[in-house]
Symmetry: C2
Subunit: 258 residues, 2 copies
């Protein structure tokens, strides 16, 4: 899978899924697009497409699930930035959604992005019994990610719980959605879940290191990034498709500088 | 269908679906339960169960979809009450969720309730191809309801758009979910959608009349309640199951006093 081409397909699909119409809800639509088109790295949807490839499917099979996971991720950022939450006026070098529009519009835009994630997922072109599985995977992750955020907000010091839910749940869902849409067996989907859980945890610990504020201290955080990256790579063994993209991603995330 | 028994089943099912565990996300769980257990009339889930009966299915077939629609409705109320939205400190005679807990917890509780709606729906015990249809119905309604709220917030004077989405979409989804889970044909589901659209519009116009602030004026609002109620009743003709509950509900909503 070519990363640039895959990212282009994700951008095109997201643009097609987001509402463009003028009319009564035009401000909402503008806020939704603002939130999603902010130039993210699209790591989660790329994991989703690559998971389809890893089980021997075509990345295109997972394009709607990839959009769904990015829409879900985007909504969490919109709500995280709200004054009552992190009170961030900037996101990726430009105004956060509530700062650009207003609080009420940002609350509703986040709500609509979560809804659109499920609506988009329901449009995945695959057998209905597969689509039913996708809905269950996304539903579980959507609950989990909020539990992780709530635990962090409540001052939890259980890093495994908080990172496992607020960060890893979406990576796990991305991989499970992609592997399922790509026609993977239950055992293959389980392997990719395991890969993504370690990838997500490595990603979060690396994020802390880049921010210079790991709750575990620098040494322990570095140790965990290495350990989770190794475990992620190990989980890829024996899959029937091409896992080069996922292996490369895990290696790059562990050594990223931004 | 006995209304009191059905309502009891809905309350039991909601209590079982909502998380009770203590632990890291305990405050979130408490806020979710507070929002849902506020003693609503459960009109939408009752419509859902009755729609299953109207197509000749068992109300129980639609119990998880009924929970899903009530969870979705509950989340919209939690977010509507926020300071940046309607700034309501009370809901049904007790503190609104943000007033009882705090703004951040209420934002997250609303987010989690929407997620739980989809997660609960995915647990509906029915063939996977039916469950896939349910996901599409709820996804569409979940987007629509936010569009209606956003249009109202933006000062739209298009009553048909605003009421059609912010209110009727959830009634339509309730009926379509119930009829689909109950094994209805496409034509029967379409009839129940039509019933519920008129029911929802009559409900909203009656709500305005009770609040004494219809944007259309008292006479026109009363005319619309009558017209939508008649159209709702007409849509029930020819369905294979028992429609007495839905017909009675439509008649009662049109003449309710609270």
């Amino acid at each position: 899978m070519d990363a640039d081409k895959a990212k282009g397909k994700i951008e095109d699909a997201l643009a097609a899924v987001l509402p463009t119409a003028d009319g009564e809800a035009a401000a909402l639509y503008a806020a939704m697009r603002w939130a999603v088109e902010g130039g993210g790295k699209r790591v989660r949807p790329l994991v989703c497409l690559a998971a389809a490839e890893a089980v021997g499917g075509a990345p295109e099979d997972a394009l709607m699930p990839a959009c769904a996971i990015e829409l879900l991720h985007s909504y969490t950022l919109v709500h995280d930035d709200l004054p009552a939450m992190d009170n961030d006026t900037e996101r990726r070098g430009r105004p956060s959604t509530w700062a650009k529009f207003d609080e009420a519009t940002a609350i509703l835009a986040g709500d609509a992005l979560q809804a659109l994630a499920f609506a988009a997922l329901a449009q995945t072109p695959c057998p209905a019994w597969v689509r039913a599985k996708l809905g269950a995977i996304l539903g579980e992750a959507a609950v989990g990610v909020v539990c992780g955020q709530a635990a962090e907000l409540a001052g939890s010091v259980d890093v495994d719980y908080v990172y496992g839910h607020k960060t890893a749940d979406l990576f796990v869902a991305a991989a499970a959605l992609g592997a399922t849409a790509g026609g993977g067996t239950d055992a293959q989907v389980a392997r990719l879940r395991e890969f993504a859980r370690h990838l997500g945890l490595a990603f979060q610990h690396e994020d802390d290191l880049l921010d210079g504020d790991s709750p575990l201290g620098r040494d322990e955080a570095e140790r965990r990034v290495r350990a989770h990256t190794e475990s992620a790579l190990a989980a890829l063994a024996g899959l029937p498709g091409d896992t080069a993209f996922l292996a490369d991603l895990a290696a790059r995330l562990a050594t990223r500088t931004a």
